[in-house]
Symmetry: C2
Subunit: 188 residues, 2 copies
Amino acid sequence: MTDLKSTINPLFLREEDLRQGIELLFYAYRDFTGEPDRILQTYGFGRAHHRAIYFVGRNPGITVTELLGILRITKQSLSRVLGALVEQGFIAQDADAGDRRRRLLTLTARGEALEADLTRTQIKRFARAYREAGAEAVEGFRRVLMGIVNPDDRARVGNPIAQSRKRDADQQSRKRDADQQSRKRDGN
Amino acid sequence: MTDLKSTINPLFLREEDLRQGIELLFYAYRDFTGEPDRILQTYGFGRAHHRAIYFVGRNPGITVTELLGILRITKQSLSRVLGALVEQGFIAQDADAGDRRRRLLTLTARGEALEADLTRTQIKRFARAYREAGAEAVEGFRRVLMGIVNPDDRARVGNPIAQSRKRDADQQSRKRDADQQSRKRDGN
DNA sequence: GATTTAAGGTCAGTCATGTTGACTTATTAT
DNA sequence: ATAATAAGTCAACATGACTGACCTTAAATC
């Protein structure tokens, strides 16, 4: 594919190629979530639980507000999911010593075990894909997909929030639409 | 990022890098679907409608069974969505002359207009990302993401079904679990 | 110190989109 | 003639989004 067309001709921006990108993202996401979904079913959990577990595991001590910022859902939506995970002992909440309004979220041993179980399947899938494609392709993959992510969120991709916490705080103070953030409807 | 680590050391398969991939896919998919979702809301439609419109537009004359194979949902799920789209004149159904059991699906002029409207936002996002990343990166993006897709479905990524129809037929006859395909639970 | 703001939680109701299961109707294939 | 296929339908249910209205506690500001 490093042929004339894509090398010397910026016409690689043909609609066909762009649609291929759209479809790649659709199929990849569909298959990427398939295996974890099956595991979650055995626990009576869904993909929403997976996301919560994943990002709490990735950001130990994350606050509820920060988690909402990553997931882009309402706190009412998160509360059901988080409530179930706390109740069943996968996630622990502890008041922040500095600001006792905040509840710091961490995975329990049980939560870590489930997180590892779920993430293992996705890690494997990526490991195979990275290995088969090679280091250079992986770098291209990163560059393109990072370009798909909204600029504001690029900093936190792949980075635990510790590094981006200051930036988040800035954004939040810049404007935060009251209590009920305006969220778009979803379903998938 | 073309540093020593990722160039001469296959250790680029570190868990950190793999998790970055996972997160990239999560954030990219989340942002990639955001704009269309907002447009769809004004029609009272959701992401499921978008997917149906997209793939019918991409595969004019596709049958219901073929569409189900792409979307990986049950026909009962599709029927609601498809029913609404047909009823409101976005999609037309016509009996196949050769096999009159089949209903060939095509977009109406109205459907094409909506499809274009929805896809435009995603095309733009990809065009920018491709342009900024460069042709080589795009090739890497393709290779990696194709590796994430289940092998069985790689052939149809980016290809209208015309080309892959024979293969689909083979797979279907190989085994097709009765009427109610075994589908995993979802939500997202 | 009183008031406002922020972080978190909760109750109630709705919607979109997935799922099973059980049938029906045409049409084609055996 | 019978069986299989393509499509559709009715019913019930689960999940995970959403809005709106409120409450509590703790911190920040006036």
